[in-house]
Symmetry: C2
Subunit: 391 residues, 2 copies
């Protein structure tokens, strides 16, 4: 047996550790095996818990030998499967790899007990169905993870015992790598689920706040959309302005920017007509109330700044702290533009909303006084280039 | 070189893939190496990004040779580090493992350019400080992940070239395993962060709802605590009643059970005195409103049932649907007991709260009519055995 393909396969198996996508990994392995071993075909059946069976996941080979992926599967009662799952191989053969020729030889022995003869014949039949010359089990601990099926060598030669031994060692490496990839994948799915849970909870909460303030139906999701578009536009101009993390904080902050309204009395929140000075003072508490509600969530610190300061103005005349220009956190400055645009284009009982064109003119006029000029500019460009979400 | 320790080390290195705790993994490796190789000491220096240096993470060896963990570190300007980081080894020696004897021999050559001689002398000095006979780099792609330092063999013999070659291959496996473990750890930390973010957001939200309803300060966190205690108690009696997943849903549902109050007008929510029939009807909308607010969050489906049905009664006289006995989801039945207990023990403007003892009697009386008897029983046991949270 040539040492070179062994070494190559071993090296490849080792590099597999860092392939964390189980499907990619398995496809890689089978391709590699079929290529290096020069067999008519190679396939891997992997255990699928949900189907309680071993499913042909990848199959490579020359025409006529290739079994369609997903087509073939073996149930737990399949003789090949139970043979390896119940570790019967150790009783009958010296090691884990099963060669068709060896099974045939064993089945022809005289004085065989009928049960064993029946089992061996069933194995032969299965291997014929899958045109497998060799069948190599892949275990993780005691569990059969999968089966590697190999067709004949293209040069017609037989597999040697040392080759079979090598395959068993290789199958172990492969099993470990697959198991590792599966664990990784599980963890990634879990993470994705948690992220989506948080995102959906924030959206639901924002919608509940919107529903509370009768005049702001859909306000939050529109502001959120505009904010994300502005951020993307700013990123085009300056790659370093946003990292993934800050982008997520802007997403959260824009969804929760009005959460403080939960603390504003309904008679003020839903008053038909302009607010008097006292009511206005109350209303202006909402950014601080929002920041206070969220303050125990340490992970949200940068988003909380966006909530707290989204009514600050570039020239320092805003609230709650009268911050100026660069003192205002970027997230807050972006929400400020989006929030104002949506507010002035929405109808209120006491005034009709501006048209989008009129509103853009207002934003342009207030650039450098109310708004950060760079952000106002990015927003106006979005509008001019029709990138602005309309919903 | 004995083949047996090679095989053992190789097998061990392969099994490392599934050790996903980097520290454990590294400790395992060094212990294994020191043990199998019978060297006076073995240590691993690993790169720490935050410290911009290679820190001695594990060290094993006989007294006098063992370097205290964390004590030693090499900066990026350390000759040994820069030697491997800049891949100078390939220029001077034939492969990656550096043996003290080879460096010494090279340094004594005539006609050496002064820069190289200086470098070699610096390397020798470093290896003497760490009493290292051999120094093996561990790369991931082109990055130097760490250095394995080996002392002398206890039997006084030299390391052979084929041993050094083997160490280099081993160091590659180790680097892959460490990298894999680190990626796993990163993912786990990320998941932990997301979970805590969701939990903290739910708590903050619940607190905001509590603040809205003037009479229920701290209500939500008390109900949450009692629910979790009841669940633990029920689990003691019947292991299969809760899995981790349902436990998390109970946690979420008990925190959010009153979120629907966000939709109840303030004059009803905070009315001083009993509610009239119409107001009561309005108030009784809160479980449905809560379920509606949360309904877009598909991941929370089982928790939403808890929110929706926490005012159902065991005998079918509750609201919103008049569900009976086993029709009421377990999560809702648990919240019902905890919620009632907290409500009747809290002072209201129009009535003083019951004492805990009186409240327990009420719960006992209503077992089988208002409450699921099993849950009421578990709750009463908690109280009798002083397991009930008092805050």
């Amino acid at each position: 047996m040539a040492i070179d393909y062994k070494k190559e396969l071993e090296a490849a198996a080792r590099s597999m550790i860092l392939v964390h996508e189980p499907d990619t990994l398995i496809r890689m392995i089978v391709r590699m095996i079929a290529h290096k071993l020069k067999v008519t075909h190679a396939g891997i059946l992997l255990y699928e818990k949900s189907r309680q069976s071993y499913v042909l996941t990848v199959s490579r080979g020359i025409a006529g030998f290739k079994i369609p992926k997903g087509f073939a599967r073996m149930g737990l009662d399949n003789p090949l499967i139970s043979f390896f799952r119940e570790h019967l191989d150790k009783k009958i053969f010296h090691d884990g790899a099963l060669a068709y020729v060896d099974v045939k030889k064993a089945a022809q022995k005289k004085n065989l007990n009928p049960k064993t003869r029946k089992l061996l014949k069933a194995l032969l039949y299965q291997m014929e169905i899958y045109s497998s010359e060799v069948c190599i089990p892949s275990y993780f601990r005691d569990d059969l993870l999968g089966l590697l099926l190999l067709g004949e060598k293209k040069n017609g030669k037989k597999f040697h015992q040392d080759e079979l031994n090598f395959f068993v060692a290789l199958a172990h490496d492969v099993a470990m790598a697959i198991r590792n990839a599966q664990l990784f994948k599980d963890l990634e799915l879990e993470l994705e689920k948690e992220r989506s849970l948080f995102k959906h909870t924030t959206i639901a909460l924002a919608a509940a706040i919107d529903a509370k303030d009768h005049y702001t139906q859909g306000h939050t999701s529109r502001v959120n959309n505009i904010c994300m578009e502005i951020a993307k536009r700013l990123s085009l101009k300056n790659k370093n302005i946003f990292n993934q993390n800050l982008m997520e904080h802007l997403d959260t902050a824009s969804l929760l920017h009005d959460i403080g309204k939960i603390g504003i009395p309904e008679n003020i929140l839903n008053k038909e007509g302009a607010l008097d000075e006292n009511e206005m003072k109350f209303m202006q508490q909402h950014p601080l109330i929002g920041a206070t509600i969220l303050s125990p969530i340490k992970e949200l610190a940068p988003a909380i700044l966006g909530v707290k300061y989204h009514h600050e103005k570039y020239d320092g005349t805003g609230y709650p702290e009268g911050l100026k220009a660069d003192q205002i956190p970027l997230v807050a400055s972006i929400i400020s533009v989006a929030d104002t645009f949506d507010a002035i284009t929405t109808n209120r009982p006491y005034r009709k909303g501006l048209s989008r064109e009129e509103a853009i003119e207002e934003i342009e006029k207030a650039s450098g006084t109310q708004f950060d000029p760079e952000i106002a500019q990015a927003f106006i460009e979005l509008y001019r280039e029709k990138y602005l979400p309309t919903a």
